[in-house]
Symmetry: C2
Subunit: 443 residues, 2 copies
């Protein structure tokens, strides 16, 4: 069904702070792709914020108010997006929106951990949805992964790095041999930690998220009050170093585990094996490890906070709700992610036009001038060299391996250079080329 | 809506090999949890296989046949699960099942990569769903993650280790300095590689999966014929070693990237930075890295093949289809993963009953007998010691740090031991305890 077959879905936003700004930016910037995915347009039409002067959101075309109830009670709004944070008035506004027949999407982990049972009961009674993907691990679609993607499993446990501030502090303590108070001050300066860091460093934020993860993992009600909570403020740099000597790394984990006698719910610093993937999740990143009886261990990694990663999760929830608003088969999730009539005719680039850096291994005669010939061939084609390794001759043979790392170059030009190199008398075997991807580059 | 409000959904299975056996096991073993999630029972009622003697599936209560058409044409079957593999007759049977009004779930990557456009068009025309989560990266819910979880993003690229056999071979070549033919033979002996390994080591299997990933990432039709494909058979152990010296690791990646002039689709050995999480995905494991404009980099890691990981994905698809078969609000994805009236009253275990190994750091007077006192306290409480580190005295103080690693012990007993240790005259500060999780333990 094309994006124009149904009228746009109207969103009302509560809160125009960091995440609110992210949600407005993402919905606006990606409007075209989002409507191709969802099958109809999604527009923010209403927004409420305490202070309209401090928002980073683009407010053009929005019906703005300082009074949240005006949004919650406006019959035009189909989906209320709650990004205020805190328990109240968020709880009352969400309940009222549900009673008014609106679906709700929220990023509020404290609200869901504490009042989720009440809110979901109200949502069921009103036959409305409450999306809360953004409440746990920011942009990582972990709620969807556990709730739907691993739905065939009996899940044994979940263990997650679900507070980026605490993970940043522990990563810095290890990498730079620094103590907790010093790194906390740095985290505050960088904006990774609040002026009052208690929620992050004492594990309360992680406990909110663990409460939610445990519920969807085991099918139990939300029970925040039963989580054992310990923070990282008493960990010293010596603890971190000694753990490393023993083969472990200190991470602040939320752990929910199904045992014979009950479910364990706990948040505390934890030694985990250095070689485990989870031990190598550094800085402000989040990761959640899930153990299922069929799937084994699965890991989900990504940005756990920030305006746009959180917006990524909020918008995914909005799209999920929008699909259910049009109860016909075409508004199920489209097979290829985008509606069938909205697929793109983007061409596939010929491999010859692809640009990558390359590793080249040459097998060359061990005599003067070979390297000069090779580098001349590359220079003539404007291919820059990043590194050269010239190794000892192979035993028995008079051949030496030459390894070159080039900067980015178009495949066609590299093909041409390789052909020229292989034509040299001094080159004794086909050139081995392995392309290189920096992965971390910004693009 | 409770699991009994609707009659069971009936599944017909084509293929009772490795994955077919896994699907029957998982659906049977986890029947209770699955119906609590899906809102109704799901039962395999029909199955077809060429050779019923070699199956590992539990066939009790199934209507068995050697003739696939009998399953495809049986009006009782609501969802056809195609696990035969290959292009034909899988394609014809799937198209016929859709024409017969059945939903389809398949693990067949070759079928979807080559004939997916035709199959999805038929599915849309028949208003039926085709689930294919199991076609890419086995148990990792990557189709759902990209298609729904990251739906708010404009995605820039996806790069994945999506063939476990090739990743196993490259991991072994690096870890053990061995050459390709030797490791391939080992992989074949271990059952990780087929007798004819071409599909895995020459990149064809990875290209099938990349074709599917690229489509759902960029919203383009499936275009298997346009993928550039290069395998790992020409990589030597020297290449692997030289790459490491340069700070990189050789991985066989499928890469789809959106460029200005078109989409790159390529499968080839690739140098990636050693420190990147993707470089540390070893053995037969799979991982997919996705870059979105809002979320940044996200990584999804898990088992890419095998009977039960693949079954995990097949069953998740079945549950997704089942939810749509009951078009009422209660059969949306339940907020807490399980239907509201099917939540469990599993108790939360008191922290005192949780068992973990522990790291203990003691600050002790530097005099004889302290360690004897401490180890006596632990021995009296049947707490075994895994390791002891006794460090140099801290500068200035007469105190020495003693670090102990214990075996698993119940929290209550450890609390008691710590209290006794802290009561010793020679112990000068509160004991630091950090709990330990091995993570890799089988449980």
């Amino acid at each position: 069904m094309s994006a124009n077959a149904y009228p746009p879905v109207k969103i009302g936003l509560l809160g125009l702070g960091t995440v609110g700004g992210g949600v407005t930016r993402v919905l606006t910037r990606n409007a075209e792709e989002i409507s191709r995915r969802a099958g109809r347009e999604i527009v923010i039409t209403h927004a409420a914020a305490r202070n309209l002067d401090t928002t980073t959101a683009d407010l053009a075309g929005l019906k703005l108010t300082g009074e949240a109830l005006e949004v919650v009670d406006d019959p035009e709004v189909s989906i209320l997006v709650e990004l205020m944070g805190g328990y109240e008035p968020a709880r009352s506004l969400v309940l009222r929106a549900l009673a008014n027949g609106k679906h709700v999407v929220t990023a509020n982990k404290a609200l869901i951990a504490r009042h989720g049972n009440e809110i979901f009961a109200a949502a069921s009674a009103a036959a409305r949805m409450v999306g809360f993907e953004a409440a746990v691990a920011g942009g990582i679609p972990i709620i969807k992964a556990i709730r739907e993607g691993l739905a065939g499993n009996r899940l044994a446990w979940v263990a997650g790095i679900i507070n980026g501030t605490a993970n940043f502090i522990l990563s810095e303590m290890r990498d730079k041999c620094r103590d907790f108070p010093e790194v906390l001050a740095e985290a505050q300066a960088l904006g990774y930690a609040e002026a009052d860091p208690t929620f992050d460093v004492e594990g309360i934020d992680a406990a909110h998220k663990l409460t939610i993860l445990a519920s969807i993992t085991f099918g139990i009600p939300l029970q925040f009050d039963q989580v054992y909570i310990e923070g990282i403020s008493r960990i010293t740099r010596e603890d971190v170093a000694y753990a490393e000597q023993l083969g472990y790394r200190v991470k602040h984990l939320g752990i929910a585990r199904r045992g014979v006698n009950g479910v364990q719910l706990r948040v505390h610093p934890t030694l985990i094996p250095q070689r485990h993937l989870l031990a190598n999740v550094n800085g402000v990143m989040n990761a959640v490890l899930v153990k299922g009886d069929a799937v084994g261990q699965s890991l989900f990694y990504g940005a756990g906070a920030g305006a746009e990663p959180t917006a990524s999760a909020v918008v995914a929830d909005i799209i999920d709700v929008v699909r259910t608003l049009t109860a016909d088969p075409e508004n199920r999730v489209p097979h290829l992610a985008f509606q069938p009539d909205a697929l793109s005719d983007l061409p596939v680039l010929p491999m010859t036009e692809v640009e990558t850096a390359c590793y080249l291994r040459l097998q060359a005669q061990d005599r003067p001038g070979v390297l000069a010939d090779v580098t001349r061939i590359l220079a003539d084609r404007a291919i820059s060299i990043e590194a050269i390794l010239q190794k000892e001759p192979l035993p028995g043979a008079g051949d030496v391996p030459i390894i070159l790392l080039t900067h980015e170059v178009q495949e066609q030009r590299m093909n041409d250079a390789i052909a020229a190199i292989e034509a040299l008398d001094s080159i004794r075997a086909p050139v081995t080329r392995i392309r290189l991807e920096p992965l971390d580059a910004v693009d």
